[in-house]
């Protein structure tokens, strides 16, 4: 969270990420960006637009469509003393690099008994909602959060989009940054001199007392919208932005549940074996006696993402569903 009292400005999430990349490359000569279409194309989501001209081809590297190859190369470069930012176009394609992320980045430190750490940052777009169907709409933030050895962050605000990258680069271990593609156009207020933010704690984005909504990334925005609607009905929802899915800051949500006694987790990932399941389990393990209602989850419906708009909308967590569930949990007959 910014402690700046300086002037604020409007900025999009996309611009915030771009500013973070530019800033990191300018500040540290070891940092470079590589990935598919990050240079001449300007980035699949236009995040790195203009950076090749600005920073030159030594720092902005277009790669062939070889996810495993260039993610692995990023790991090697990190081992070799560089601080690469590897952009995987979307998390769907990261599965082609899953071997490198899981079998190398996540385990090198451990396998070498602490000798070789891998200070790599891998950015990838995540999430659905753009009618691009099953192979381009996955939300794998929570899926990667299963893996010890990597850190998983999901910035939901322009402030985090701007500030998490530098902290991730300074981290000695692999950090995966998931940028929900639905957020790139989101505009937010950001301090002119906004800088790094931590990547190991959750934030209460809205204080409340009746129920805790636990969410992250694009679902956080929906949760905040739902909380506004609920406030008009007299239901005061506390909204938590997890920010980091691994390591998970359970203290923040457990304290909140200790206060509100109810929890709804909103997770764009699928329900089975999800990060929402993990959070729910931790509440059972450590917050059971504070619960006044069963923990509920709103996740994506367990289908590969369909193309048709109405089906896709129905498959994703939505504001009205959040509102309905909260009403049923908190309301007179809930």
């Amino acid at each position: 969270m910014s402690t700046s009292t300086h002037a604020m400005r409007k900025i999009t999430y996309r611009e915030a990420v771009r500013e973070a990349i530019r800033d990191a490359i300018q500040k540290d000569e070891r940092v470079f960006l590589m990935g598919e279409d990050v240079g001449r194309y300007g980035g699949c989501f236009a995040v790195s637009k203009g950076l090749l001209d600005e920073l030159g081809p030594a720092r902005i590297l277009d790669t062939p469509l070889s996810e495993s190859g260039f993610v692995g190369a990023g790991i090697g470069a990190a081992l070799g003393g560089m601080r690469p930012i590897v952009e995987v176009m979307t998390c769907n394609f990261s599965l082609l690099a899953a071997d490198q992320i899981l079998n190398n980045a996540a385990v090198y430190l451990h396998m070498s008994g602490g000798l070789f750490n891998v200070p790599i940052v891998i950015r990838m777009a995540t999430g659905g909602g753009r009618q691009v169907a099953a192979q381009h709409s996955r939300c794998l933030d929570g899926w990667y959060a299963h893996i010890p050895g990597i850190k998983v962050v999901s910035p939901a605000t322009v402030e985090d989009a701007r500030g998490m990258l530098w902290t991730a680069l300074e981290d000695p271990d692999p950090v995966l940054i998931f940028e929900n593609s639905g957020l790139y156009n989101m505009e937010g207020e950001l301090a002119v001199d906004a800088g790094p933010v931590d990547i190991d704690s959750a934030r209460i984005r809205r204080q409340g007392k009746h129920i805790t909504l636990i969410s992250y990334s694009a679902s956080l925005i929906k949760s905040l919208d739902a909380a506004e609607i609920l406030a008009r009905e007299g239901i005061d929802a506390e909204v938590i932005d997890l920010r980091t899915l691994r390591p998970l800051d359970e203290k923040t949500f457990l304290e909140s549940v200790g206060k509100t006694h109810r929890a709804l987790i909103i997770d764009e990932g699928w329900r089975s074996g999800s990060i929402s399941a993990e959070i729910s389990a931790r509440i059972m393990e450590s917050g059971f006696f504070d619960l006044d209602a069963p923990v509920q989850r709103l996740c994506s419906v367990e289908v590969p993402m369909p193309y048709a708009k109405h089906l896709e909308d129905a498959a994703l967590p939505q504001v009205d569903k959040i509102v309905d569930i909260v009403r049923s949990m908190v309301g007179a007959n809930g």
């Binding site: 006696f289 006044d292 809930g334």
Partner: protein, 432 residues
């Protein structure tokens, strides 16, 4: 058709053996009648019925051991209103297998039963209809001494939620939770108050006190049985020369009007409170296999009720009260205890119990600790006895004080220190 089931008489009761039926088929029974005797792991227990009606079938035969929740008999209701009427197919079903006779009570009847049940403290909970309450509601209920079984939940499927407990605790009743009346001494479990360690589980283990002497007897039985089963007691006893205290009390009482006079038991309780500040280990609980001494000293004072039974409401923060405050407090407690209007915290917050049976001429009291407390102090009658002090023989008013303490929580040395402190304080009554 109503089902009479093997009741659960405690969370650790899983099954029971029917010893005898006190009724036969065709007998008319009414709510509260004892209709069966059941042998449990602990003792033979008389079981009452909660329906009015006629005994239709006796399913379980004497000698049979059945799990809790097993249907033992069917009671046919007579002269029922429309809502309670047997379904039209009843004639065909009467005497038919149990399964077919299952009945879903209409909502109004369920409410009525709940209200009835509320006044029926001995109602054994049917294990097949497990109490549905949220964990937080259970925690709150335990902290505030609310008996969940008396509440009607407003949550899904009638689950009791925190709001139901809070409403009961604040005296604002929900429609069907009338009997959770705060003014009623419905709860007898000396459960730690809010911010205290995990309390006793709620439910049947938590004995309750009510107007019904039999019910109170059973509640006391349950608590004492638990005490005897779980608490390894040790006993220490000492004789205390009470002459200085009594002399001091006499002079104090001379300064007071008759209404303000102080009974001898008051300085004794005050002395217990002060002694506990020196041996705090005896003040508290044994919960979850853990000794949990309490900072606040709330002394439960055993009061016999005229209708039978006893109750031990707490003198809260006894160590901080003056003699006059304590007397006033005790007068108030006794009056309200006998009128059945104790407050919840008084019923649940005791951290130790004092019992004084001297009025009846008893010399020595060997008490049974009230779980989860870890000590009980007993006072007998003050008698004149020969007493040697400084090599001089004289006659002194002597009190026998005993300590029953939980050996899991403390050892004899600590107990001895307590009695020694008690004695010392009573030799310097000005400290009181």
């Amino acid at each position: 058709m109503a089902e009479f089931r093997m009741p659960s008489l405690g969370s650790d009761m899983k099954e029971g053996t029917l010893l005898e039926w006190r009724v036969k088929v065709g007998d008319r029974v009414k709510h509260g009648d004892i209709i069966a005797v059941v042998d449990t792991d602990k003792a033979a227990i008389e079981i009452e019925v909660f329906e009015d009606g006629i005994v239709e079938t006796l399913i379980v035969q004497p000698g049979q051991k059945v799990p809790v929740g097993t249907v033992m008999a069917l009671i046919r209701q007579e002269g029922a209103t429309g809502a309670r009427a047997i379904p039209v197919t009843a004639p065909a079903l009467e005497g038919a297998p149990i399964r077919a006779a299952q009945e879903v009570a209409p909502p109004m009847e369920r409410i009525a039963r709940a209200v009835q049940g509320a006044f029926e403290p001995s109602a054994p909970r049917d294990e097949t209809q497990r109490l549905r309450a949220s964990p937080y509601a259970r925690k709150l209920a335990a902290q505030q001494g609310v008996d969940l079984s008396l509440l009607r939940g407003t949550g899904p499927g009638g689950a009791i939620r925190a709001t139901d407990v809070e409403r009961a605790a604040s005296g604002v009743e929900s429609t069907a939770s009338v009997a959770a009346a705060v003014e009623e001494p419905v709860t007898r479990g000396p459960v730690p108050s809010a911010e205290k360690p995990t309390p006793l589980p709620t439910g049947t283990e938590q004995p309750r006190v009510a107007a019904d002497p039999a019910a109170m007897r059973r509640a006391i039985a349950a608590a004492m049985e638990r005490s005897n089963r779980e608490i390894p007691h040790y006993y220490l006893q000492t004789r205390i020369d009470l002459s200085r205290t009594l002399r001091w009390l006499e002079s104090e009482n001379l300064k007071r009007s008759i209404k303000e006079r102080i009974l001898p038991v008051v300085p004794l309780i005050k002395a217990v409170a002060l002694a506990l500040t020196e041996t705090p280990e005896l003040n508290g609980y044994w919960i979850d296999d853990r000794h949990q001494p309490q900072e606040t000293i709330n002394i439960g004072f055993a009061i016999a009720l005229r209708q039978g039974g006893l109750i031990a409401p707490a003198i809260l923060q006894a160590d901080t009260k003056s003699i006059d405050e304590m007397m006033e407090c005790m007068r108030d407690l006794i009056t309200r205890a006998r009128a059945g209007r104790l407050r919840r915290s008084e019923m649940t917050d005791a951290t130790i119990t004092v019992t004084s049976l001297g009025d009846l001429g008893v010399e020595t009291v060997y008490g049974v600790i009230y779980p989860p407390q870890v000590a009980l102090v007993g006072f007998g009658k003050v008698t004149e006895q020969p007493w040697v002090e400084n090599g001089m023989l004289g006659i002194r008013p002597v009190l026998t004080a005993t300590l029953a303490a939980d050996h899991r929580a403390t050892d004899g040395r600590r107990g001895a220190q307590f009695l020694d402190a008690l004695n010392t304080i009573l030799q310097e009554p000005a400290r009181l």
